[in-house]
């Protein structure tokens, strides 16, 4: 994408209304272009002024609820041991569909080579993370197992925290019966709200895999996968983002 094309999109970028693919393209450009980055920063400051200009007094107890929410999140992390190194790669080109598409093939091949559905999913996800690191992209800030409620179902969720581009998650699951399709994945926010992030797509008998980009993983507390009836079949608890 040229500077002229990027400049044309920067106001919408600052206002947060660009479609995901264009946003990623702009982010990739900004990673190396100082001139456009300066323009982007200026416009973002303007957007922040608009945001700051609408203060409304919240309920008096909201401050304490905020403090408790942060304390809960921090407490969960302390209980789970030392924080995974929060390594954020400088390159944001990682968050591109092209690269993910290329990697998907490798994930699939690795899946096929693994033994059980659960192992397949787990190994594929781990390998995916290694590949991303190999290409100098991003390091997952969290790799956490997806615990199945029954049978062989299981998998792994990897969260990638991008400094400038949007964060994204990779969810690979296996061992889920076809009868339960479609499976939907949700993030659970600290306030308990569920945000749908996508549908798990079957890639072969007994296998399901899915990778998905979305925004602001930092707001995620847990990730759950539910079957067609709404029953939770997989759960991953995040201790950090």
């Amino acid at each position: 994408m040229s500077c002229a094309e990027v400049r044309d999109l920067l106001p919408q970028h600052a206002l947060g209304v660009l479609p995901a693919d264009r946003r990623r393209a702009v982010d990739e450009h900004l990673a190396w272009c100082a001139g456009c980055r300066k323009e982007s920063a200026d416009l973002a400051e303007g957007a922040a002024v608009a945001a700051l200009a609408s203060p409304v007094a919240p309920p008096a107890d909201l401050e304490d609820r905020v403090v408790r929410a942060v304390a809960r999140a921090a407490g969960r992390e302390r209980r789970r041991g030392p924080r995974v190194a929060l390594v954020v790669a400088a390159a944001v080109a990682l968050a591109s569909v092209g690269l993910a598409g290329a990697l998907a093939g490798r994930v699939q091949r690795l899946e096929d080579a693994a033994a059980t559905a659960r192992d397949r999913a787990d190994r594929a996800a781990s390998r995916f993370a290694e590949v991303l690191e190999d290409v100098g992209g991003a390091t997952p800030v969290l790799s956490t197992p997806l615990e199945g409620q029954e049978g062989d179902a299981g998998g792994r969720a990897l969260l990638f925290d991008a400094a400038q581009a949007r964060d994204f998650a990779l969810v690979v699951a296996g061992g889920l019966p076809r009868s339960g399709e479609p499976y939907l994945a949700y993030l659970v926010s600290p306030s308990g709200r569920r945000l749908e992030i996508g549908r798990l797509r079957a890639t072969g008998p007994g296998q399901l895999s899915r990778y998905r980009f979305f925004a602001d993983l930092a707001a995620a507390r847990d990730l759950v996968v539910v079957d067609r009836t709404g029953r939770t079949v997989l759960t991953a608890e995040f201790s950090l983002a």
């Binding site: 106001p11 609408s54 919240p58 909201l62 929060l86």
Partner: protein
Amino acid sequence: MMGHGNPAATGLRITFTGGSVTDPPGPLTPQAEQELMRRLISGDEEAVRALYARFGRPVFGMGLRMLGSPGAAEELTQDVFVAAWRKAGRYDAARGRLSTWLMAIAHNLAVDRLRRESGRVPTAVDGLEELAEVGVSEEEALLAREDVRRVLAGLSVGERRLLHLSYFRGWTAREIAEADGIPLGTVKTRLRTALIKLRRVQWKVEG
């Protein structure tokens, strides 16, 4: 983000009086903002309260404006501060103001929720809700905020409307162009003009 050598680095910050009694907001230097975020990483309660005192109102106000209900705005506010805690290690005062960083987090979360929950269907155009008319009526409003309001009021009606639809309603330039029957290029140009005007206001306040 902001560039290096920014005169705002030593100037007055836009601040708001918050509901907290633990740490009344005042101007913060970039060093103080960085220190605040360093304390926040460890989950320091006073740091959370200090951050909330500065940004609780605008975050809640944004949530109320975008999501439409106090309950949703309260949930958003909690999520924003948890997200700020989680991302605090990545805040770099040399690259931008804390206000820009935090409000971008808030806006991203609000837009995500708006799109997921409302489908963001740009049908009937909302009434001409003007930025400059939104806000609090408390006597405690700081001069800086009033300056911002004056400048918001200085935007043209068209610019305010575009900013409202885009920033607070999540409409793309194309959706606005189609709804209002004006050329896409004009929408983009006006959005940029509005943002640059707003930024100039901030410079004026901080300078």
